[in-house]
């Protein structure tokens, strides 16, 4: 009853801001991710059972089992999970995050990020680029071939290059990318180029031959999302640093599994609050419409949780078309998020707002009071497994989620009448 919420929030958000995530290596999930084992698949969002999983998540889980050599085809893979032989667990329970379906299987390569300030670590998988990709639930031969190249050819070179860098400061990279028109979630064009630039000399040295070096550099440089996964791991490391502060109402997790949207709160341990996932509002690629869209999916909302993504929209006027229109709308998006956050970032700043820090540390109380829910920039997946990305836009978690969490917070800390 005697907790001072304002103080607790100040501590939580200060820890998030002071966290300095550095990319230290690329390892095998089974060897590096906490509590990973042979019969476990990690996925985006809050916990979910196979029966409740949406098309894209099912497709990605099937594809991962095929990639692992555990199954030849769809029915066999489904049987492995349905029977309980292979279990499912949220990435977030293993210090990890993955975009869209976010499926990480035991032999997959994962980026390792270490928070140099507080020592905690976070992980994310490799980004496959655009088109038919596992994270959108595609698992065809073409997808498998791409995954195998990434793991057999690219990963060893990339891992060596990262080690040769002796640590790549993702926080500094993000701060710079914000000044180059990125918001760190839907737009990572500048960040991916910076990432490629920093690694390229080391890739050239580490690659067995020039053709491999060229292929790896090309894969990173051509993919405007190549830095997204290390960025997400960095955001996870920052958000986790703010987690577990007694009496804090700061939201430290927002994630979707394609069926439900879930949040966790700093002062409320590992408890998830979930609610059916809304569908994003946005622009669809030619030939697709809202009817084809899956409810929102992915752990990439960790960027908004850490004060980036839609919260830094003012920095990325180039992508306002996804959310409706004018550069003024981009400014307004960020300005609105200041209403529900506990602090302004001291490292991530926005030139368009006179170098004001991005809004960071979503305060449960402010969300409930104002009715303003966090904005999330997101990609839109086709509801059927394997089709892939069909658009991009904006989504907001349901307000009821925050009300439910606030009521539970009051119960836990004895604030009821």
């Amino acid at each position: 009853m005697t907790v001072n919420i304002d103080n607790a929030n100040a501590i939580a958000v200060e820890r998030m801001i002071e966290a300095r995530p550095v990319l230290t290596g690329l390892g095998k999930a089974l060897d590096t991710v906490p509590d990973m084992h042979e019969d476990l698949l990690l996925h985006a969002g809050p916990p979910i059972a196979w029966e409740d999983a949406s098309g894209p998540l099912r497709g990605a889980l099937i594809g991962a089992l095929i990639f692992e050599g555990r199954a030849e085809e769809e029915a066999e893979a489904a049987q492995l999970i349905a029977s309980g032989e292979v279990r499912l667990s949220p990435c977030h329970h293993h210090s990890a995050v993955g975009p869209m379906a976010g499926v990480i299987s035991p032999s997959m390569a994962v980026y390792e990020v270490e928070n140099k300030t507080h020592g905690n670590r976070a992980f994310s998988n490799l980004n496959e680029g655009y088109g038919k990709v596992l994270r959108y639930g595609a698992y065809s031969d073409e997808v498998q071939e791409r995954l195998r190249w990434m793991h057999d050819v690219m990963a060893p070179v990339l891992g060596a290059a990262i080690e040769a860098c002796s640590g790549l400061d993702i926080r500094a990279l993000l701060a710079e990318a914000l000044h180059m028109g990125d918001e760190g979630h839907n737009r990572n064009k500048a960040g991916s180029v910076l990432f490629t630039k920093l690694l390229a000399p080391h890739i050239a040295m580490a690659a067995p031959d020039p053709a491999t070096a060229a292929a790896v550099i090309d894969a990173l440089g051509e993919n405007a999302l190549s830095v997204l996964n290390p960025v997400m791991a960095a955001c996870k490391a920052m958000a986790d640093a703010g987690h577990g502060v007694e009496g804090s109402t700061v939201v430290t997790t927002m994630a979707r599994n394609g069926t439900e949207f879930g949040i966790r709160v700093s002062g409320m341990g590992e408890r998830w609050f979930t609610s059916p996932c809304p569908q994003p509002v946005g622009l669809y690629f030619p030939g697709f419409s809202a009817e084809d869209g899956n409810p929102d999916i992915g752990d990439s909302t960790i960027t908004e949780t850490a004060g980036l993504g839609a919260f830094a929209m003012a920095a990325a006027p180039a992508i306002v078309t996804f959310v409706s229109g004018t550069p003024q709308d981009a400014l307004n998006a960020t300005l609105e998020m200041y209403e529900i956050t506990a602090a302004e970032h001291t490292v991530f700043t926005i030139p368009q707002l006179d170098f004001r820090g991005t809004p960071v540390g979503i305060d449960l109380r402010a969300v409930v009071e104002t009715g303003i829910t966090p904005r999330v920039n997101t990609g839109i997946a086709h509801k059927e497994a394997g089709v892939g990305q069909i658009g991009a836009g904006l989504v907001r978690p349901p307000a009821a989620l925050f009300a439910e969490a606030l009521i539970a917070f009051a119960e836990q800390y004895g604030f009821q009448e």
């Binding site: 400014l331 307004n332 300005l335 209403e339 109380r365 009071e369 009715g371 009521i407 009051a410 009448e417």
Partner: protein, 604 residues
Amino acid sequence: MVEPLAQKGEACASALLAEVRAGSYYDSVVLMQLQRALTDLPGVRDAGVVMGTPANKELLTQSALVTADALRAAPEDLILVVQAESEQAGRAALAKVDDLLSARRTQQSDAYRPKTLSSATRMFPEADWTLISVPGAYAAAVARDALNLGQNVFLYSDNVPVEDEVSLKESAAGKGLLVMGPDCGTARVEGAGLGFANRVRQGRIGIVAASGTGLQAVMVGIHRLGEGISQAFGTGGRDLTADVEARTARQALTLLKDDANTEVIVIVSKPPSSSVAKQLLSAAKACDKPVVVNFIGYSGEPNVADHAAGISFARTLDGTAELAVQRLAASDSDHPTGKPEDSFQPTAAPAQRVSPVRPGSCLRALYAGGTLACEALFLLQGFLPSIRSNGPLPGGLQLENAHRSQGHTVVDLGGDAFTVGRLHPMLDNELRIRRLLQEAEDPETGLILLDVVLGDGAHPDPASELGPAIEEAIHTAARHGRSMPVVAVVIGTNADPQGLGRQVERLKEAGAAVFTRHDEAVYAVGRALGEMGEDRPLPSSEPDSNVPSERDCAAKASDFAAINVGLESFTDSLRAQGAEVVQVDWRPPAGGDKRLAGLLARLR
């Protein structure tokens, strides 16, 4: 076209259509304007546009504008109900709603509008005043936030519990801040008129007022006499009660005492309780400046000791202005005139005639200004034996039904019985026009008296609507073979957006006898009725030739920096005066969910 009240709901073939929009909050003025715009659409008989609070749903039920859907709406939901001649017309009207709402919005800039007061103060740290006009149930919490953010408060909202008023004022005093209100309609601070305010000259007379239109009438009177206002603080009508102990009034007096630009102080209020009056007068004495007091309806003899201490009492609002200006002149001259004049002195001006009144017929005074209605009741006591009102003076006769006049009647159409779910008659003339035509049909009606209050916040051109209605009313009476003079008193200045001269001209064209001093208008009416139709010339108050230029009035409003939470018209009028304002896009906390709002209060 105005539809008589009685036809409402008598629809034979009609369609009732409702739409509920979840989670959309709009302020009440926007909704009422939308409601009026809907009723103006072809084939629409009536419309209701309200937020889905229990009180509003009750209101819809009473107006037979309710559907099952509407009854299920939550407080944060917007209810739109249309009663139309056909389903088609109703549908067409509902389809126009978005256009009607966005028509408003395109006039606004697309710059970010803060959603909370704290974010507004971060955006605009220069602001030191916050105007609050949110629904009463939320107003105290917003005011408390404002005080905690170091803001002075202009609290327009009413229905704020008296305990909240006292605690807000105590907390403000502790922080060296001022809370004007609740239920404060007008003020003038640092050259800017707040709420309903007339454009007047900046000057040397400071005012503390516990009434809205009373303060407006005094400011206008001072302006007409060529002087101006330094500051005018509203206190809210309850400040001078024993519960609140004149907390704001006493604080305001101290501010005026210390204000180098204020040379004469005016206090205007309905009669306070005697203990509070004593406190207030002793605070006034401590000011060491000449003080003019008008406790409207105060009939006791002024105390000699008060005179000695520089306090003089005025009988009417215009008399107050006159006395203040005299005191200023006296303190200007090297030889002070000594004991100030208490009595009302008519100004020499061309005669204004009120046509004869039929013997035995009655007064029907239809007021928009509450304090003006109160002053009329007080001043008419000497002329008319019994007057009924919906807000009578102590000991006066209460109207049985506010909607129906009886004998001599003075009705305040801004009273609660009329304004629930409707715009105030200073903003919307419809109610008054209906009542005017209703009175014209009544054979008892002998004379109609109307007030027309101009200024920021008021209707943009009242005479354009009241003028034709007056003509129609006079014709209606004439058709029944009755003469029925109409007297209008216009409170305003030529610098007001509506233009005093234009309003007076239009009302005269319509056939009204027009005054610009309220006391003169009331005396003229009293004589016309009291002496049973004796047609005598009266001193009139033509708009003064001593009219200042717009520049004169704009004064230093541009220095005023404020945050507005609630009615957008307040932002518009302050901006028109050159002040800088940030409008907060306010919504009820937790979407109006009381349980969550209570929880939030504990989690602060």
